[in-house]
Symmetry: C2
Subunit: 219 residues, 2 copies
């Protein structure tokens, strides 16, 4: 849905620089000064907040081709509201605020495109709210697995998507707002059912059709 033109890519590369983070690395965290935005080249990133009692609550996942840290820059907030963590080995393009803002001013089409992106993200977030209200835990787990597979896997035969998701149950729990124990049981349910292939702490493939059966109200 979001595609940069060659010219935009080029511009971004010229004013930014590539940077890699290992899995688990925190890219920025809540409360920090807002100085930069990131463009995801590969890997995926969790946007989350830590509660007083130390629990993490995830509100979004971002995949290659998307920006992170955008909302603060576009709304001129001086401090980060949410934190971002690499869920994977991640390759990013880091861009400082000022040149980026200049780029926005220089390229009205790019600016319009970002407006589209923000609108799209708002819809996504609202869909997440909808899903939380409509779906019990299994449904939310199925939704998240499906999304991760579609975004970072490669389609195989008869509705199978091959992936390589090394996500702990703890991580999944904080994304879907459930307890770790529940995620454990559910993953095994999905496995027995043939909805996912889950071996040695890694999700290897998902069966789109079967997985969708666990979701109440598909979009």
């Amino acid at each position: 849905m979001f595609q940069l033109t060659d010219k935009e890519q080029e511009y971004l590369h010229k004013i930014g620089s590539e940077i890699s983070y290992p899995k688990g690395q925190i890219i920025f965290s809540s409360g920090q000064k807002t100085n930069e935005i990131y463009y995801i080249i590969s890997g995926f990133v969790k946007i989350y907040r830590t509660t007083e009692d130390g629990r993490q609550v995830s509100v979004a996942l971002r995949y290659p081709g998307d920006f992170i840290g955008l909302a603060e820059v576009l709304s001129n907030s001086s401090e980060r509201v949410y934190s971002a963590e690499a869920m994977d080995k991640v390759k990013l393009l880091i861009n400082w605020q000022n040149p980026f803002k200049k780029m926005l001013a220089d390229m009205p089409d790019f600016s319009r495109k970002l407006m589209e992106l923000m609108s799209h993200r708002l819809r996504e977030a609202q869909n997440t709210i909808y899903d939380f209200i409509m779906n019990p835990t299994q449904g939310r787990l199925a939704l998240v697995l499906l999304e991760m597979a579609e975004r970072s896997g490669s389609p195989g035969e008869n509705g199978l998507i091959n992936v390589s998701l090394r996500v702990t149950q703890e991580e999944l729990a904080c994304i879907i707002g459930a307890s770790r124990q529940t995620v454990s049981s559910l993953l095994n349910l999905l496995k027995e059912d043939g909805s996912i292939v889950y071996e040695r702490r890694e999700i290897v493939a998902v069966e789109v059709r079967k997985l969708k059966n666990w979701i109440q109200n598909a979009k």
Copy 2:
């Protein structure tokens, strides 16, 4: 947080026209063609979706000074995704898509301001997700009542906000994602506790401090 300049107000009025809707009126609904955006002059509006089995799920409330129907226009979606309903007697300014887009092009500052608005909304939606994960039903109810009071009431003495909220329990239920019966009990709990003044099916005032005690993790 979102303020229009006199010039912008004037422009909007020039290219748009005022329109009033009674409580319960549907302003636009999911699936309709996107032709216009609305600016809320008074009253408030629910953004929601209806599920297959007829239940309503609300994802946001919009108050005076805010736009509705914006995301589709800004992202060039031809169809409405969510529906909008007047929760009150509502006065709106209706603006057709094309003149509005021209306004965006004509006034870069306005355009930037809308970008800020969308960023802000995204944060709001993410905060809602966070609240859903962190707070049990009472907390979400308290949050919604607090927001409605702060946005549409007038501050009285010692932390009291006077309002006049004629919202059915059914409505509240679909906003916080709970059953009507649970809302019923909770409202009475809040009433006994002195967190709200609730008389003859109308919420007359809220006690900010006490109400906040029901919320797990205040923003």
